[in-house]
Symmetry: C2
Subunit: 168 residues, 2 copies
DNA sequence: TTTTATTTTCAATATTTATTGAAAGTTTAG
DNA sequence: CTAAACTTTCAATAAATATTGAAAATAAAA
């Protein structure tokens, strides 16, 4: 397999995986492209290499920058903006996890909590069972969130993985 | 908040969360509806309560049954099929996790492995750096997969959560 | 300042994904 | 067996989501 082929396959795979998990294909592909490149890349190069429009390239880059996993890089004597991806895997993986948790999971956890409280005083069997179901989900996500928060805060997920492998 | 209101909010929230994570809205809503009900529910009731078509209801139920998180329930003297959701949270959460891992993550891990091997002998700086990036991703996912497999196999994720809370 | 290069925005359009509903298939009752 | 009850399938359609591309905005150079 030639290098360019390998890179292309990586980009395609990343794009497909993103799609399945609710991440825009172009965003995932731009991320993969930047990950697979040693040097900073400009918007024009991204457009050309992924065959996407300027608008799409621009918005995808911006989203990755918002996630904090891609940085702008100024190149002396060039007016264009260049971009590089955070290459440390655990670092960007954690940033994506933190961002998605905050944006998508936290609001749901709040609602689960609300529902749990609101159904506390149900008297019917049906009401009590629903309360218990929601409460169980809420308590489990709560425990997982506490663990996740500690992992995120520690910034030493690598050590934790080692520890976990040792224990289990 | 009235019980019916609470249930509806649970169903809506579940549907929205599913959508964000690549799970069909109707599938997630049917799951939530079954979770929030003490008694088995028929296709007709699902159609009525969620205001969806027979085809959609049928396919959503089937998918949940395929996941192994919803069961058919025969009711004596009734020709209709009724359905109940697995109520034990950890049980269905694990089943969903296992299924998605197998279907969506495992193939990607295979490809990452392939790319890692295929770029082993790269000689250019660019080639070597790409190889390292992919290898790092591959190794991390590999470690996480091993942990996940053990957790899945143990069927005692509850104990592991307690253990983890204790350690960290 | 004016010109030119570059980036951003967003309405229009294309693509993908979800949903419908009626016909075909299946099962059970009479 | 035949009819009725129920389930499944899937082509057609609708809805949601992603992408384009050109105009507007911004920034740098002349």
């Amino acid at each position: 397999m030639k290098l360019e082929e390998a890179k292309q396959q990586f980009i395609d795979t990343w794009g497909a995986l993103g799609t399945e998990w609710g991440i825009n294909k172009s965003v995932a592909q731009v991320h993969a492209l930047l990950l697979s490149s040693s040097n900073p890349i400009s918007t024009d190069e991204i457009m050309e290499m992924l065959v996407i429009s300027r608008g799409n390239a621009n918005m995808s880059i911006r989203q990755l920058i918002d996630y904090g996993i891609v940085y702008k890089k100024h190149i002396a004597g060039d007016r264009k903006e260049y971009f590089v991806a955070e290459k440390e895997v655990l670092k960007w993986a954690m940033k994506i996890a933190i961002m998605r948790k905050k944006k998508e999971l936290d609001p749901v956890m709040d609602i689960l909590k609300e529902i749990t409280v609101a159904t506390e005083k149900e008297t019917t069997d049906d009401g009590k069972e629903f309360h218990n179901t929601v409460k169980e989900i809420q308590e489990l996500t709560d425990q997982l969130e506490k663990i996740a928060n500690k992992v995120f805060a520690s910034n030493r997920a690598d050590l934790l993985i080692k520890l976990f492998k040792f224990i289990i």
